[in-house]
Subunit: 465 residues, 2 copies
């Protein structure tokens, strides 16, 4: 995807000097550092910032933002760089604020089932910290992303079908606004009817409204029983219909993931597994011992109706970790199927009643194409991903992937779905934002202008202003 | 609570004439109609609009809004008038848009577990409509409020502890903006990462950003087993500690409601019941037969540890309805304890670890006061209500209730809670909005000005602009 035509103004050396005075060694203009901060894990063209500032506190972020504002210089917040639609590309240059060193867990309340962390804390780090408390943080987008980045991109992932996305699991944020003002979006009460929902406004704002420096999230008690299983199906329709009936029956599965044949082949090779090469569902059940067993019985019955094989169980924690690690490595596994290829990951989400149809039409479309691809997804939410394994040196492949992607998104929108269930807009999907939201994009633009009148916060992302 | 000092400009007769041409009989300037539309169910001073327009469609709302905009005339959306902080008071006069006749259920999808309704459909009407589908809509603020109003005020109520509030249960809204533009805030996918979360922005915006005309909500399968019970405790601390331990144990109770002694006395008299006059919890358990029974066992054990009596069961649907109707009538029941009194209902919400302390300090404060009051609440969320039964002709009682309310809110804020868990700000709690959110109110104000630059939408509510 080509970036929008934004003018890149050279950074003012006086700003670099002022930032260096404030941060010392933690201000870098080294080419390698800048390049690494201008790219994410996607095929999108990277755009390096002019400088990278490694912040250690909200106060430092305030000072960096104020200095950038004084010099009218763009700001791009950066967590782990694991986004997929060009979110961190410095399209207009400027200063990247790397928050990865703001990685302290500030408080955990076992009583209130919540925790407050600095934005750079990653989900695995938080769960490691929680290890002896009997609690866990469920949102799991695959990558070991930072909580700040996950908030900014409204991340979800495999557990969202049961636990919701970042939308449901962020209680409050500390945000540095474009003028350096610091706000708390909410207190810690589980619910509030006090004014506009600023927490939800900043969740998913992709760094275009401010820099998230602290995140308060909900936690959950580790269930008494966790059961994971894999089940192969005769066809992708059978697998999808199993998902649909499971969700419609209100069975509270914690994870229900679909992988198609190419994706299964890929993970077998990559993770040295021996799963059957067939459309497959990965399940996880959480509950009391009796409750989880009851869920398993119900889902087995549904799977049986659609010709599902016997469940292959991953009973120990170790086997479960291996199973889900393989699922999380699906992207890298798919790329390994075609050495030298670059991945073009994309996702859509539709109402579950349209999921089978949407996947079937998409697979039929892919069957006509010469570009290899693999499908996987959080199908319990109606959300699925495609990965195109493209040869980046062949423009015709990029054009073909773009055409297939366009068609899939258009199909999802026609089915009352969304152009992205969880990857976000970045600059890769801006065109689709307009296709999806129509005039409502003007409301988003009005909000953007009201909060960031000089368009300094991650310019060129989400909307074209 | 006195209204903020807003200048009331007489309505332009040309606007009234234009609206009458468009709506015929459905434009009323009758004093009785206007008065009825300027007041809610609270003690707040009513402010009648100059005219009431009964809309039948989104297109009509567009025309009304455009005409009002042309004459710079304020607009107040109206559902059932059951709000509690002066939300519908026409502080600057203008036109009330009554949406109660927009009461069609537009679609129900049993497959997707969602429905789209016009804004005037009430929660009971929707559940009646769903009767034969095996589905239900859980959000239940007590009053039979409209879905539009419930969205606008981010309503929650007794089931929120399990099913969430309107924040979690609205999938999409159709909104007429202050300039007459119509937007859809989202499609029907369960989740989306496409741009700013406009749905959550309009949920809880109290009519200050636009008129909600259609609502898409989540539905749920009616559980196989629904069990309701009542349990009395030796002290309010024991009851609250039972709630806290239940929530911390992750038991998915559907309802867990606290009523103090005066409130129990009130509902016994009002609803002709014979419950023990003691701090009492009302429970409801949803699940499979085995799952609900498992929840009951766990909660009984916890209640037993805190000296709870035997559970009194309401097993039939009829007994359950009677039990919850009594709970819902708590407000009217409390008022009936003091004939001629007017109710001052208020609510706060705190992290559950502070709930026992917050209620204890509040009760101690009330014990020093001569004004009768009753306490009830959705304590599973950390949310509780007070009702002061005041003599409206005695200004010293209003002053005393105001002082007690101030102290309770200040206490909740100091405990990292919110000034209102579910009633909203209206004009009754604007001062507290600033106390709670500080500089973040300026962000809300910037959004308000960006979307409604002429401050025509429900002026004087939430913020003082």
């Amino acid at each position: 995807m080509t970036a929008p035509a934004l003018v890149r103004v050279p950074i003012n050396p006086a700003l670099v000097e002022a930032l260096r005075q404030r941060l010392g060694d933690r201000l870098s203009t080294a080419a390698a550092v800048c390049e690494q901060h201008g790219k994410d894990e996607s095929y999108h063209q990277p755009h390096a910032p002019d400088a990278v500032a490694f912040a250690h506190s909200t106060e430092e972020v305030v000072d960096i933002v104020k200095l950038c504002a004084r010099y009218s210089t763009p700001i791009v917040p950066f967590g782990t760089g694991t986004s997929l639609e060009g979110h961190v590309a410095a399209l207009k240059g400027g200063v990247c604020i790397d928050l990865s060193q703001m990685n302290r867990v500030l408080r955990v309340s076992a009583e209130d089932l919540d925790a407050t962390v600095e934005a750079g804390v990653t989900r695995k780090q938080l769960n490691e910290y929680l290890r002896d408390t009997g609690l866990f943080f469920p949102i799991d987008p695959g990558a070991d992303a930072s909580l700040g980045g996950m908030s900014a991109t409204r991340a979800s992932g495999t557990n969202a079908v049961r636990y919701g996305t970042m939308r449901e699991n962020v209680l409050a944020l500390t945000v540095v606004l474009p003028d350096g003002q610091v706000i708390q979006t909410a207190h810690r009460a589980r619910k509030s009817a006090a004014g506009y929902d600023l927490t939800r406004l900043f969740v998913g704002s992709e760094g275009t409204l401010g820099v998230i420096t602290e995140v308060t999230v909900r936690l959950y008690g580790i269930p008494e029983a966790i059961l994971a299983a894999v089940c192969a199906f005769p066809s992708i329709e059978d697998a999808v219909n199993t998902v649909i009936l499971t969700i419609q029956s209100g069975i509270p599965v914690a994870r229900i993931e679909l992988l198609d044949e190419p994706q299964m082949e890929a993970i077998n090779k990559y993770s040295k597994l021996n799963h059957k090469i067939a459309p497959t569902l990965f399940f996880e059940f959480h509950g009391t011992t009796a409750g989880a067993a009851e869920q398993v019985d119900l889902v087995k019955q549904i799977a049986g109706e659609y010709g599902g094989d016997d469940f292959r169980w991953a009973s120990s924690q170790e086997e479960r970790s291996k199973l889900w690690q393989a699922r999380h490595d699906a992207y890298y596994a798919a790329l390994a199927l075609r050495p030298g290829s670059k991945g073009w990951p994309t996702d859509v989400c539709v109402p579950i009643s349209r999921l089978a149809e949407c996947i079937a039409e998409t697979k039929a479309d892919l069957a006509q194409s010469s570009i290899p691809s693999a499908l996987a997804g959080h199908v319990g939410d109606g959300n699925f991903h495609l990965i195109f394994m493209i040869d980046p040196n062949r423009p015709e492949e990029i054009a073909e992937a773009s055409r297939l992607n366009d068609r899939m998104v258009t199909r999802a929108l026609a089915m009352d779905g969304t152009c992205t269930g969880e990857h976000g807009i970045g600059y890769g999907k801006s065109d689709f934002l307009y296709a999806e939201h129509g005039e409502a994009v003007q409301v988003m633009a009005a909000i953007k202008r009201a909060i960031d009148p000089d368009n300094l916060m991650n310019p060129g992302k989400i909307m074209r202003i």
